[in-house]
Symmetry: C2
Subunit: 247 residues, 2 copies
């Protein structure tokens, strides 16, 4: 069983949103930060994968949020490899407060791709040895996001042109930006008065500079059901469960 | 003369842009981070100003960039109060590399406003005592940005709807977002192959959620001249000088 990698992080004001709490995109950025640091410490970081022409892509995030940390709060980021098979990798992420309470818990599913051919690649044995995951034949299924009801109308939709600063050094839109489009399409009064507590997102296709995406949402009580389209291509499906915010 | 406040900061991957170097918005975020930390350490941070119904607003940034730090690079953020008069405050910011080289140098001009009345307020004597600036009658003039030539056409323009995540806990668009709009309106091929070396921006009016801004640019050799409009109101004027990027 793999060891849990830990690192400290202080939430900075520019990582918070209007509520002065860690923004949704930053939750994902901090997760990726911790596993990148773990990979570097194991000698199989970005330099290693890039030299092999490989790159990790995120397929799904299943997230439970108990409390979003506030600006200036110091939190612990934890991560560890869970089940791996030759093509897929599951990883655990957690954000803990100073007292050790779990603020955020993420189950993430990854695959490795050949960057030139843009197709799935076998995870090198050397990497599996380093991460020490549980080796399995079949990756345990994760819960699916709530899907858009095709028999109902879309409640709100909005186009967004991909911006220069949405692109990261991998030359595509950083996965965290999807939350920008998903939150912005909602009614501001709703987002300001509700806290996200569960979130499930499947990334279907990457988005690139020059694309214009469409962010769609159906409202279903305290659940918002999202789709991100790039032209006719479905880029992501997600559902978020909210609870009225306590001031 | 005021002491120089210093703090360390490691550039994280989500603070970098497509070039894997610290993004323009993040240069401004790190500056504000350092002076906020200085203010807190002096007992006159956001808690103090908010309790008095006051808030700092940024009027101008004059920036020299010698080199943008890279992801994972640890830098030193420095700041100090320079000249203050009863209504205006000048502040120095620097980003230094591990060897002490100045990577970025910023001259910033601030004013204090009454948050309710949205008008200028006198800087409390207690704050001036704490910051220990040079007390002056007249704030030294800063260089102006290159202005749009009214006799020439605008070369490129683009509307941008303000997004939920553009808003910070002060309920208006964070000043750093202006660079998002200013860089995005440029030709991507140009931004990817040029480094900003000088930047001068004057903030005229704040931008709020619900606004749609227009980002305009005139191209003048290696200088790009920008205006940000919110409706008929000029929100910011800026010029950026670029140099071909060395790979």
């Amino acid at each position: 069983m793999a060891e849990i990698f830990s690192m400290q992080h202080k939430v900075l004001y520019y990582e918070a949103d209007i509520t002065d709490k860690l923004s949704l995109p930053m939750i994902f950025n901090l997760a990726v930060l911790s596993s990148t640091q773990e990979s570097i410490s194991l000698g199989i970081g970005p330099d290693y994968t890039h030299a092999k022409g490989l790159g990790w892509i995120i397929l799904q995030h299943v997230v439970t949020i108990n409390r979003r940390p506030k600006t200036d709060e110091t939190v612990t980021l934890q991560t560890t490899a869970k089940e791996f098979n030759p093509f897929f990798a599951k990883r655990m992420y957690r954000i803990l407060d100073a007292a050790g309470n779990i603020l955020v818990d993420i189950d993430a599913l990854y695959a490795l791709i050949d960057m030139d051919k843009r197709k799935m690649a076998r995870i090198p044995e050397e990497m599996v040895d380093a991460y020490q995951p549980e080796r399995v034949k079949k990756i345990p299924r994760q819960p699916e996001p709530v899907l858009v009801d095709e028999n109902k109308a879309i409640d709100r939709e909005q186009p967004y042109a991909v911006r220069y600063l949405d692109i990261d050094s991998n030359q595509h839109v950083n996965n965290s930006k999807y939350f920008d489009w998903m939150q912005d399409v909602l009614d501001t009064a709703f987002v300001k008065t509700h806290e996200p507590i569960q979130l499930n997102i499947k990334y279907e296709q990457e988005v690139r500079l020059g694309d214009t995406i469409k962010s769609e949402v159906q409202l279903d009580g305290d659940t918002t059901v999202h789709r991100i389209w790039s032209g006719e291509t479905l880029s992501a499906e997600a559902s978020i469960q909210w609870t009225p915010a306590v001031k």
